[in-house]
């Protein structure tokens, strides 16, 4: 079993500038929300993407999965979300609301930012007034105020990703599945979005399964980093990350951070060769 999640003893919401009533709800004690047991995936063509994966995610845990390209990291998310069915093992999910953030922002180009953010709530038949209220809050949370009427083509890559994030936030998910959401962004935008995602996590205590190529990003964001091997993907090692939230961007330059990142990188390299 993995180590207990790191404490989430951050500053108050006011100090974080996150005084939204929906995010001030009390933190329930951690419970298991997603568990893979011996999960495996073999595609009809005969390719085995995943093999014997055991992974447990509790509420309030931010788990990153790093691994080489094509190791089946994304397949793990697709299984968790029900987009795909595992061919071996068991997948156990104990929540109602999942937020799935794709690699691309997947915004509808004919809808404005506001309309895009409202989309999922619309699909879930949430009444118009409530939908608008939630969208406004989400837009505020990701810092897109003033851009509500913009069409996606007027937005930068980072702003598109924020819109996509806001869209998921409207459903108040208990578990977020992130499929390399910042992979296509430039370094500076990526770091900024990391900070904001980290702040959101510190305030909202959702569970998260985050797929990434970047060891730095994984260590910076997560309570736990999972290292996967090349295809067929299986878990090589897990590293708890005990730095308290909210984390300062400069934490990336500390010795402890470098040491932990080094360990993760080494595990990744060993598994790859």
């Amino acid at each position: 079993m993995p180590a207990a999640p790191a404490g989430i003893a951050g500053p108050s919401l006011e100090e974080l500038g996150l005084t939204d009533p929906t995010i001030g709800r009390s933190i329930p004690p951690p419970r298991v929300i997603l568990r893979f047991t011996g999960t495996g995936m073999t595609f009809p063509g005969g390719t085995t993407a995943l093999e014997d994966v055991d992974l447990t995610i509790r509420s309030g845990e931010f788990v990153s999965v790093v691994g080489p390209s094509g190791c089946g990291k994304s397949t793990l998310l697709r299984i968790a979300s029900g987009l795909e069915e595992a061919t071996a093992g068991q997948t156990w999910l104990d929540i109602q609301r999942i937020g799935y953030v794709f690699q691309d922002a997947t915004l509808l180009p004919w809808r404005t930012v506001q309309e895009n953010v409202e989309l999922l709530a619309e699909l879930e038949h949430i009444p118009k007034a409530e939908r608008t209220r939630r969208a406004n809050e989400a837009i505020k949370l990701v810092g897109l105020e003033g851009f509500e009427g913009h069409l996606p083509k007027m937005l930068s890559g980072g702003m598109k990703m924020r819109t996509s994030l806001a869209r998921s936030l409207t459903l108040n998910p208990e578990l977020f599945l992130f499929d390399e959401p910042f992979g296509a962004l430039d370094e500076i935008t990526r770091e900024r979005l990391n900070d904001e995602l980290m702040r959101l996590f510190a305030a909202q205590h959702f569970g998260a399964l985050f797929i990434t190529h970047s060891v730095q990003e994984a260590v910076y964001l997560s309570t736990r980093v999972v290292v996967m091997s090349g295809r067929p993907g299986h878990i090589l090692d897990e590293f708890p990350v005990d730095f308290p939230y909210p984390r300062h961007p400069d934490m990336r330059f500390t010795g402890e951070f470098a040491e932990l990142s080094g360990k993760v990188s080494r595990a990744l390299r060993e598994g790859h060769s």
Binding site: S81, G82, L83, I98, Y100, F102, Q103, D104, T106, L107, L108, P109, W110, L119, L120, E122, L123, E124, G143, L144, E145, G146, F147, H150, L151, P152, K153, M154, L155, S156, G157, G158, M159, R162, D186, I188, T189, R192, L193
Partner: protein, 305 residues
Amino acid sequence: MTATVTAATASSVAANAASPGAAAGPSAPDAAPTGGATGPAKARGTGKAFRIVPPFVVAGLIVALWYLVSYGLLDASRRFLLPPLHSIFTDAFMNADTMGDIGLSLGRTAFVTLTGLAIAIVLGIAWAVAMSQARWLETSLFPYAVVLQCIPVLALVPLIGFWFGFGYPARIIVCIMISLFPMVSNTLFGLQSVGKAELELFKLHGTRRAVILKKLQFPAALPAIFAGMRISAGLSVVGAIVGDFFFRRGDPGLGALISTYQSRVQSVELFAAIFTAALFGVVIFMFFGWLGRRVVGKWHDFGGR
């Protein structure tokens, strides 16, 4: 199977990244695109003059050539083969009787064109939507859309008259047959242009097929649908004129009038009627271009200007 696609606009759902629009908005949280990023539009000749002047130059050349043939090559007795351009205006367009005839027949041809086009649009979209909903429907129905496109409609015209008589219904059927395929293929192409991730986003929320069609596929297909409408509109005019030639029962349309003028060697009137038909085709084509830009131009680079 979906090889023959007439869409002039490949509607990629991914929006263009850079646009100066955002720079004018409130302070961007992260680097908003600046005007520095040049779009592909800048690559070739710039400026309005560059787009407007050349067509007029070509028009001038054509007029010059016209007069050269009319006065230089043809002697007076044979000048009726290509009457001087201005005489078409003075003798036909400014002649009330001629214009009355042309106007009336244009009205009938326009009625046939627009009725046929409207039916083709509705039928074409419905056909494509049906095919987009099930793979087996696509594989069983698309070949017939292609067959329809491949049959020379002229070969069927006698049969159409045989079955439906030689009046308006037959003319409208020719219009439908000739303009249906671009609607079917473009709509289908548009509906299928939706990305896999976007579809999955909808599926994750248990969205019903009808809702996916309404909120995702159909809006995404609109640029291709409008491109199809523009092509079909032009074809429908052709269909109506062809129909006029063959189905003469009832009031004459432009095609019948053209044929009458030709048989009576009324060359000035003949040219006037041809010009009217051409102008009608251009107007209807431009109308659908305008309509397309109006509906989807905000978020999509709708082709043409």
